[in-house]
């Protein structure tokens, strides 16, 4: 059987352990799926696959057991998914009848965010869709995830780009009855950025994470939500070579800045990727160029407001599989 494996993989199918059998990966940007698409996924699995789906860690569906010769038929069947979840949100899909146009840049995953979660500081799915529009389709191997707050339930710290929601808490002393609940809670759950001075609460802006816990805690709305901001953590990864958790690159930046930085990162990859390798993960490119080159290039034309903070250096720490065991 003749199969152009590169084309197959780019089409979001894989080479599996079973000869001639492939598996399809369906993207669900932001991890929030209108249930009508279940019917299509079910049909693909029943008609062409082995009747099961795997729920992926990136919040997509992987449909295994598909004979490679069925790929064209499967692609036609999933056309409504490409239309509804990609084309209609503004992703450039030229022909939705021929399957996914790329697979390198992975599904943007997101925690459930403020559509449900009380801790969230923004609509994570909405941001995931905006990111998807910018980065997909693309062959570069990039993983992005967005969390509603620093609890980071989606594990954005394991991604190339992780986005965590921040909110600026605004204090109205006239509503504060000095109960101390916010101070106590910030110490216990977050960073200890609050102190009670003269029956009023003071916030150490340098320490504050923007988690919004104080807003959630205050029984009298003395703390309310100001503008939304984002923390961007970068170059976290798992894998065989030098896994590590992502570190903060930006804090208190706007949504526009997040989108700009991500768009710029693709130009950075384009410029610096080692083309002798079959693929090079962006984290390893940053390891080679150093943070400063990355920083200059991704922040090009990004408007940072006065609150924004940019990491001056990043120490990723060390973790090697083969050096920490006897």
């Amino acid at each position: 059987m003749s199969v152009h494996t590169k084309k197959l993989i780019k089409n979001a199918y894989r080479i599996t352990r079973d000869r001639d059998i492939t598996a399809l990966r369906i993207r669900v940007p932001g991890g929030h799926l209108p249930v009508e698409y279940f019917d299509i996924i079910k049909e693909v699995a029943q008609k062409y696959g082995n009747g099961t789906v795997h729920i992926t860690t990136r919040q997509g569906f992987e449909v295994p057991g598909i004979p490679m010769e069925m790929v064209d038929k499967v692609n036609r069947l999933i056309a409504p998914i490409l239309k509804g979840l990609e084309k209609d949100i503004g992703v450039q899909v030229n022909d939705e009848e021929i399957g996914y146009p790329a697979a390198g840049t992975r599904n943007v995953s997101g925690c459930i965010g403020n559509r449900v979660c009380p801790f969230a500081n923004y609509d994570t799915t909405d941001l995931a869709l905006k990111l998807e529009r910018i980065i997909y389709p693309n062959d570069y191997h990039v993983k992005i995830a967005v969390s509603g707050c620093p609890n980071d339930c989606i594990k954005a710290h394991m991604q190339d780009i992780g986005v965590l929601g921040q909110v600026e808490p605004l204090y109205n002393p006239d509503r504060c009855i000095s109960c101390g609940a916010c101070v106590d809670n910030c110490h216990k759950r977050s960073t200890g950025a609050l102190t009670m001075v003269n029956y009023r609460v003071e916030r150490d802006e340098k320490r504050c994470l923007g988690c919004g816990e104080c807003v959630l805690t205050c029984p009298n709305s003395a703390w309310t939500r100001g503008s939304n901001y984002y923390r961007v953590v970068i170059m976290g990864r798992t894998g065989k070579k030098n896994p590590r958790i992502a570190r903060t690159f930006l804090e208190w930046v706007s949504e526009d800045t997040v989108l700009k930085v991500v768009a710029n990162m693709y130009d950075y990859i384009e410029k610096h990727i080692d083309r002798r390798l079959p693929k090079e993960h962006v984290g390893y490119i940053v390891d080679r160029t150093g943070l400063n080159v990355f920083k200059d290039e991704v922040l090009k034309e990004a408007e940072l407001d006065a609150k924004a903070k940019v990491a001056q250096f990043i120490d990723f720490g060390r973790y090697f599989y083969d050096r920490n065991q006897m």
Partner: protein, 341 residues
């Protein structure tokens, strides 16, 4: 006398009123809700009738107009002290029947319970006049009809909003000329207008007529000990909770000057009954709940002849632990009837 006019015309009325009054009404503060993507409906200053939220209940009550969460009583230096000056304008508050009736409770506490009326409360209360907002069918958790607070005649104006039309009833001789002074005479339309009051709520209570000490150690309260987190939201939203505590603070730059404030206190927050030496009368949230219920539905009435609670249901609306005060009272009644043990 009742009048009908467009919202544009009614805004002329409001402009006229604003010359002499601060006008407070339910407003929607976008994005100011506790949770991201939610709004806060609460009392705020308005300048146009479109600012008023008619179809939702406020989280906090109108009591803030005369009993602010934090109020400076006086500023002091070594030798002297000075009371802050008070805005000369009157205060007009858009309020529903339960909220207007709540002021009768606050009046009892601040004006009638001691040998002298509380001067801080009095100076604002004297300025206060009500604009009645009717309730179509009440909201979730309201039980005003059970408390007899669903009706009131204590209002200067009634304002009803229907589409782009405003209906306004003048119920106060002081405002008799308001309409003729605000609108051109040929556009004045008189209509027959009667205030409508809710007669039934979904939540109905029968208040046990004798809530006595036999319930003091009933296991019912233990449930609340484990459920209530003692956050105080139920008190801060309540239009009849009136407790406060004193704060003397000394300015950091010059500790010989400072101010004395009074700020809201909550009987549900730990420390409320703490005395010098650290002894605390009520130690568990169950005991605190018991105190609150007894106060709202028994002890207050013994003193003033009517219940403290006006059945606005806010305490139920805002409790993050879904503790319902009316449900608690229903349980007490069931116990009295031999139901819940």
């Amino acid at each position: 006398m009742g009048y009908q006019m467009s919202t544009v015309e009614f805004n002329n009325v409001i402009s006229k009123l604003l010359l002499d009054y601060r006008i407070l009404a339910p407003v929607c503060l976008e994005g100011k809700g506790t949770f991201s993507g939610t709004d806060l409906v609460t009392y705020g200053d308005i300048e146009r009738i479109q600012d008023v939220v008619f179809d939702r209940k406020t989280v906090y009550s109108a009591k803030e107009a005369v009993f602010p969460p934090s109020e400076t009583m006086f500023y002091f230096t070594e030798e002297e002290f000075k009371q802050p000056s008070v805005d000369q304008k009157g205060i007009l508050v858009f309020a529903r029947p339960c909220d207007i009736n709540a002021f009768k409770r606050l009046d009892a506490i601040y004006l009638e319970s001691g040998p002298y009326p509380d001067p801080y409360y009095l100076q604002l209360r004297e300025k206060l006049k009500f604009v009645l907002m009717e309730c179509d069918h009440g909201f979730k958790n309201c039980f005003c009809a059970s408390m007899g607070t669903n009706e009131t005649s204590d209002f200067s104006l009634l304002v009803r909003s229907e589409g782009d039309q405003i209906f306004c009833l003048i119920n106060d001789t002081g405002f008799e000329d308001l309409i003729s002074e605000s609108l051109a005479s040929n556009s004045i339309r008189k209509v027959d207008l009667q205030p409508g009051f809710v007669q039934r709520n979904k939540t109905r209570l029968q208040i046990p007529d004798k809530l006595d000490n036999s319930l003091f150690s009933h296991p019912l309260w233990q449930e609340y000990a484990s459920r209530c987190t003692g956050c105080g939201r139920c008190n801060f939203s309540c239009p009849t909770c009136s407790c406060f505590t004193m704060q003397d603070l000394f300015y950091r730059d010059n500790p010989s000057c400072g101010e004395r404030r009074r700020v809201w206190a909550s009987c549900m927050i730990e420390g409320y009954t703490e005395m010098a030496g650290g002894q605390e009368v009520r130690k568990t949230q169950g005991e605190r709940m018991r105190f609150k219920v007894m106060h709202k539905f028994s002890d207050f009435k013994k003193r003033f002849g009517f219940h403290m609670c006006v059945g606005c249901g806010r305490c139920d609306d805002v409790c993050p632990e879904y503790i319902s005060l009316p449900r608690c009272v229903q349980k007490l009644q069931e116990i009295k009837n031999g139901g819940v043990r």
